[in-house]
């Protein structure tokens, strides 16, 4: 592929904690084409959210620090950009949707102010125009009676509606990239599907690329073009969604897929969990991060850290063991 919208190379983010320096994102690299949907999958603490926040340089400093790598977006390295340049990009070229719709909206400001604010910040719109546009945006995310809802406060809305409002806010400046950090985790299952479908539809309409951060493999299957699996702050496998489901190569991915309960499985069959605990980021095992829990680990796995290699066309894995 020729021109990538986003190229993340060797991104590394560390946090200072009482247990010492913790590497939350460890040498992560991936590409994203314009209009593409990439799902970043992993369990809690695998570094998904920190990867997203690092790309926008929203890691709180002092405790956090981006120690290496580059995030090239539209030909410019965001890690080298000044704070003012980053402010001009956030909400304008890249927008982010957060996990908790109940707390992501300011309780003392109306929806119109919050949805319209990116336009005032980035487009120099006056507030009257921003309010009008906010009403239009709320309509596009299918909030009923949108023009009147501009004057509503977040507490007057349900969780699903608030997440719709967050999406409207993210869409305000027609960003080229939307990062959605577990956008549906806090919502009811039925609402989840609606929100994801809406997000997918709106990104398709506007041609924006989408990074969908999730721990739900079911979400990935339906909405993502490509998948990146993270474990212990590292990327362990990337492939197209279809390829990943058909031919999972990394033992961790296989474990994840095997642990999903299936409706067509024989009654009484036990769930198959991945044994053991996710690694403590302050005390990472030597070599491969997954090696202590891995059933096919070899002596090599504890000695050196596997690099990402292209095992099949457009399918990378970080594992020494040849999967059958």
């Amino acid at each position: 592929m020729a021109e990538m919208l986003l190229q993340v190379r060797n991104l590394t983010t560390r946090f200072r904690t009482e247990a010492g320096w913790v590497t939350a994102v460890d040498d992560v690299s991936f590409d994203l084409a314009a209009g593409e949907t990439l799902a970043i999958v992993g369990e809690s603490g695998s570094g998904k959210s920190v990867t997203a926040l690092s790309m926008l340089r929203l890691i709180p400093r002092p405790p956090g620090e981006i120690t290496g790598g580059s995030v090239v977006f539209e030909g410019r390295d965001l890690c080298q950009a000044t704070d003012a340049e980053m402010q001009a990009i956030r909400g304008n070229r890249i927008a982010m949707i957060f996990q908790e719709p109940m707390t992501s909206l300011n309780p003392s400001l109306t929806l119109g102010v919050q949805v319209g604010e990116p336009l005032v910040l980035h487009r120099g719109a006056n507030w009257a125009a921003a309010f009008a546009k906010a009403g239009e945006l709320l309509g596009r995310v299918r909030i009923p009676d949108a023009q009147a809802r501009v004057r509503a406060y977040p507490h007057q809305m349900s969780g699903g509606q608030r997440q719709r409002a967050m999406i409207a806010m993210a869409l305000a400046c027609q960003p080229r990239l939307i990062i959605a950090d577990e956008p549906t985790t806090a919502l009811d299952v039925t609402v989840q599907a609606q929100i994801l479908a809406l997000l997918k539809e709106l990104t398709r309409e506007t041609g924006a690329a989408l990074i969908l951060i999730t721990h739900d493999l079911g979400v990935v299957a339906r909405y993502a073009d490509r998948v990146a699996v993270m474990y212990g702050g590292r990327m362990v496998e990337t492939a197209s969604a279809r390829d990943l489901y058909k031919h999972p190569l990394h033992p961790y991915t296989r474990g994840l897929l095997a642990s999903i309960p299936r409706l067509d499985a024989p009654t009484g069959q036990k769930l198959r969990p991945i044994e053991g605990q996710p690694p403590d980021l302050a005390r990472m095992p030597a070599g491969c991060a997954f090696q202590p829990r891995c059933q096919v680990a070899q002596p090599d796995c504890t000695a050196t850290r596997p690099a990402m290699t292209e095992a099949r066309p457009q399918h990378w894995k970080a594992c020494f063991v040849d999967a059958a």
């Binding site: 402010q87 957060f98 707390t103 909206l105 300011n106 309780p107 910040l121």
Partner: protein, 284 residues
């Protein structure tokens, strides 16, 4: 938000009877202070040698002092001085508290450390000592009283605002605003300030009462606004103390007014805090 809608006023009169009484006292006090010129039957320093030390009557509602000045008029003008000093010093104090509290609470780290140690140092001085020092250097007078009271109360109150800012700062919507490209100043003024308005309003209302009380204490000691300005504290210490047995109304009039006003402000402030605190909603 709650503070700007009439809902809180209705709840005040329904759920907080004492607070409503406080509000009425505060409003009467403000009214008297603002319209003292029209309400007072005599000038504040108008002397009437034939009517010295007269007890309260139809003509002189609160009696007269040893120079024949009408106590009712003087108490009204005293209310004006208290309003001016109370509101302006409390405004300065609240401004200082909010500025220091937001800077210290939002930026945290080394900035917070530095600001809070300065606040510690300042608060370790008794405010009366600072006031006496300032007055002895530049002499008594209203502007310096307002300035020093504003500064002292302001620095102390910054702790409350800092705490509120720290709890607001950690909210997801602040991160969300930053992710939309808002700069620091916008985050502070537009997104954090409205969310700390309840403690700010309560701080302001209680500061008004506190300032009035301290100012009266200073005037009583002769360190406040110098006579013949009719301050309540000055009236208590001057004629009030000298003629306490011959003419008790000289002490009772300003004393009772001071007590009522400070009481009113405090119960109103308490009720306001309860009404604006979401955790207290529905409780009495």
């Amino acid at each position: 938000m709650a503070a700007s809608s009439p809902g809180w006023l209705r709840r005040l009169f329904r759920d907080k009877k004492l607070g409503a009484i406080g509000l009425v006292i505060v409003l009467v006090f403000l009214f008297c202070g603002v319209f003292a010129d029209w309400l007072a039957p005599f000038g504040m320093n108008q002397i009437s040698p034939v009517n010295r030390l007269k007890p309260p009557s139809a003509q002189f509602w609160f009696g007269t002092d040893h120079l024949g000045r009408d106590m009712f008029s003087r108490v009204l003008y005293g209310a004006r001085l208290s309003v001016i000093i109370g509101l302006s010093a409390a405004s300065i104090a609240t401004f200082i508290s909010v500025t220091l509290g937001i800077v210290s609470g939002y930026f945290g780290g080394k900035v917070d450390m530095l600001v809070q140690r300065v606040v510690d140092a300042w608060m370790s001085f008794p405010e009366l000592i600072i006031l006496i020092a300032v007055v002895s250097v530049i002499g008594p007078g209203m502007p310096q009283i307002i300035g020093v009271l504003g500064l002292t109360f302001g620095i102390g109150g910054s702790r409350i605002i800092r705490g509120a800012v720290i709890s607001v700062r950690e909210n997801m919507y602040i991160h969300a605003t930053q992710s939309m490209g808002a700069g620091t100043l916008r985050v502070l003024l537009r997104h954090i300030l409205p969310n700390i308005m309840p403690p700010v309003l309560v701080l302001f209302s209680t500061r008004v009462g506190g300032v009035i009380l301290v100012e009266s204490g200073l005037s009583f000691l002769g360190l406040g606004v110098p006579p013949p300005a009719p301050t309540w504290g000055g009236m208590l210490s001057g004629a009030g103390r000298t003629y306490m047995y011959m003419a008790p109304w000289l002490a009772l009039a300003p004393g009772l007014c001071l007590t009522a006003v400070v009481y009113g402000i405090n119960v109103f402030g308490d009720a306001l805090r309860d009404l604006l605190d979401p955790r207290m909603r529905g409780s009495r």
